[in-house]
């Protein structure tokens, strides 16, 4: 098309990236927060106690509660509090469905010392935030999967073309020219992209693999045919569900779970049991699969399978199976990072942030590059240019503000308000809408300063809101060594400070530039306020002067 391979790829990179940039920013930011989903869950339910019970207590409590809530279930699932993902004992059950339909499901958090269900305030928590990165919100899930999938495909394309258009990827990596307008944005975009390139590639490709069966249904259909039965046959073969048994329909007491766990712990070590997956509980054909903690990126756990009625060990299943499935599970495991310890988890979080900021710098670069030419137009910048500038501001600063508002809502909505968890989310999207509309009423550069200050306040005040509304304030958490609560509060505070620094820097830059901007504006007799301030930045870049 255009001359030369690099130019064509540069075109694809620019326009492909721009067209889905805002969705990708949303996906990356909410997904990055997902690396601390459990921590955010805990912060958003400050009433929940810390679980200090033993495995035996947890098992007894879980089994009694499941017996009471879900006798005759098709499946029970117990997650004892032995890892980061389950700070409290969790049970799940699924009743048999009628005529092939899925039965009723339920789940509860339990207090392992008293056996009562833990409630705490109703909240979407970190889970809702994390789920938004693939299921969006207010949309049917399949529609959302496709939107995210198409955007991810664009992301993959942007990554590959981004590498291709780099003549000197190594040299550019060590180049940063600050205070140089467009150059600085380009250098920063390169720096962020190359630093975390393996992460960006891994996260995007594995994101596509998560919903690959939805995106590429024809490949399965060509070997297995269409319809639910064909699909089930494929999954059964792929995931080797060989231990699946139908209920015998004759009742039998469940053998001792703690005896089975003891066998598992003797093989794997203490606290290595991640879950107990019980099919057909109370039936002669009950099966108990005990899964091990995730100690590697491979997403599947090794399992010990027991006969639920006799307690006999039937099978020792390795996590790794066939090569293609192992590749898939490793990609998914790397994406989720469930195996990551605290240090690695922070690295995941920071890599995710680098990706988010990389997307933001790319979109800002698009406007900075075009601004000088746009300002020379007799009627001021085009509608398209102004739209991109507004969407950039409303998303890059607006979405973080909206997420802060979600946390504010969690603390400020009445604790017993019935629709509070829905309203937390409504608040998030209403605030985002407001920040998207804000640039319409304000010239764009002043708008950036305003919203950066709003973001600084929104995050900086969160620890104070937390201190006023709960007894788990920062001083308390630090004194008690509660690093989870202290960590969340301190992260909010740091975020607020970073936004404030950005606001001060930008303000300083706008103050330096006005004289040059005014001269330029007078020369061209441009009266539009938007144009005037937009000149400020163009005056910074060497290309414009």
């Amino acid at each position: 098309m255009k001359n030369g391979f690099r130019q064509s790829m540069s075109w694809v990179h620019t326009w492909g990236g721009l067209s889905v940039g805002w969705i990708l920013f949303f996906v990356f930011l909410t997904g990055t927060l997902g690396y601390f989903d459990t921590e955010i869950d805990r912060w958003m339910k400050p009433e929940l106690p810390k679980d200090t019970s033993t495995m035996a207590q947890s098992l007894a409590v879980a089994e009694a509660r499941l017996q009471e809530k879900a006798e005759g279930a098709e499946r029970w699932f117990i997650s004892p509090p032995t890892n980061r993902d389950n700070p409290n004992l969790r049970i799940f059950w699924q009743m048999p469905g009628k005529d092939g339909e899925r039965g009723v499901r339920g789940n509860e958090l339990l207090d392992s010392t008293t056996g009562d269900a833990l409630s705490g305030r109703a909240t979407g928590g970190g889970q809702t935030l994390y789920q938004m990165h693939y299921a969006l919100h207010y949309l049917p899930t399949n529609v959302a999967y496709w939107i995210v999938g198409i955007s991810s495909m664009f992301m993959l394309l942007a990554i590959v073309t981004g590498v291709v258009i780099h003549k000197k990827i190594f040299k550019d990596f060590f180049t940063f020219r600050p205070q140089k307008g467009q150059r600085s944005w380009l250098d920063m975009h390169n720096l962020l992209s190359v630093t975390a390139l393996p992460f960006h590639f891994m996260i995007t490709y594995s994101g596509l693999i998560f919903f690959a069966f939805t995106y590429m249904p024809l490949i399965v259909a060509s070997s297995y045919g269409t319809g639910d039965d064909a699909e089930r046959k494929f999954f059964d073969e792929l995931f080797a569900e060989t231990d699946k048994v139908e209920p015998a329909n004759s009742p039998a007491n469940l053998a001792s779970l703690s005896a089975m766990v003891a066998i598992a712990e003797s093989r794997w070590g203490e606290n290595q049991v991640r879950y107990l997956d019980i099919t057909n509980p109370g039936d002669a054909n009950a099966r108990v699969s005990i899964g091990r903690q995730l100690n590697s990126p491979l997403r599947a756990s090794p399992e010990l399978v027991f006969d639920g009625a006799t307690g006999e060990l039937l099978n020792d299943k390795a996590a790794a199976t066939s090569a293609p499935r192992t590749v898939r599970d490793t990609f998914l495991g790397l994406h989720e990072g469930l195996f990551a310890n605290t240090a690695l988890r922070w690295l995941y979080f920071l890599s995710g942030l680098l990706g988010t900021i990389m997307i933001a710098t790319g979109m800002i670069l698009w406007t900075v590059k075009r601004r000088p030419a746009q300002l020379k137009k007799t009627n001021g910048p085009d509608f398209g240019h102004r739209l991109v500038e507004s969407l950039n501001l409303g998303t890059i600063v607006g979405l973080p503000i909206a997420i802060a508002a979600y946390f504010w809502a969690n603390r400020l909505l009445p604790v017993d308000y019935a629709a509070r968890s829905e309203w937390e989310i409504h608040v998030l999207f209403l605030v985002w809408l407001a920040t998207l509309l804000y640039p319409l009423s304000r010239n764009i550069m002043r708008g950036w300063v305003d919203l950066l200050w709003v973001a600084a306040a929104a995050y900086g005040l969160l620890p104070i809101i937390n201190a006023v509304t709960t007894d788990r304030h920062l001083a308390n958490s630090l004194a008690q060594g509660d690093w989870l609560f202290a960590g969340v509060d301190l992260t909010f505070l740091t975020t607020g400070i970073l936004f404030a620094i950005a606001a001060i820097k930008l303000q300083g830059r706008l103050r330096q530039a006005p004289q040059a901007a005014r001269d330029a504006a007078n020369n061209k007799k441009v009266i539009s306020n938007t144009t005037l301030v937009a000149q400020d930045v163009s005056a910074q870049s060497p290309e414009a002067t």
């Binding site: 098309m1 064509s8 690959a212 590429m216 490949i219 070997s223 066939s322 090569a323 590749v327």
Partner: protein, 102 residues
């Protein structure tokens, strides 16, 4: 002069739109058809071969899209996707109907 300019602009826009359409639809078709043939030919169990095809399909898709934008003419871009799709598709169908493939 002005008229010619806007004609060129229009032509350019149509070419871009056409390329985008070819890249998205044609690339998807080629990625699927290639993955299907792979899933028939790979020497492993059926479910594993299908999984491998799916894992590779996104890489094939990416390559196909890049190719559409890299070549000089739109015609060549179209042919470059349609021809291999037809050939690979024909081989896949042949394998299916002769019973070599599942």
């Amino acid at each position: 002069m002005k008229n010619t300019q806007s004609n060129t602009d229009n032509r350019y826009r149509w070419q871009i739109a056409l390329r985008v359409a070819v890249a998205i639809v044609g690339g998807y078709a080629l990625a699927n058809i290639t993955a299907i043939l792979l899933s028939y030919l790979l020497p492993m169990s059926k479910s594993d071969a299908v999984m491998t095809g799916i894992l590779l399909s996104f890489a094939i898709y990416t390559g196909a899209i890049m190719w559409v934008f890299a070549v000089r003419s739109v015609k060549k871009a179209c042919m470059g996707l349609i021809a291999p799709s037809l050939i690979i598709g024909a081989v896949a169908l042949l394998l299916k109907f002769t019973g070599v493939a599942p």
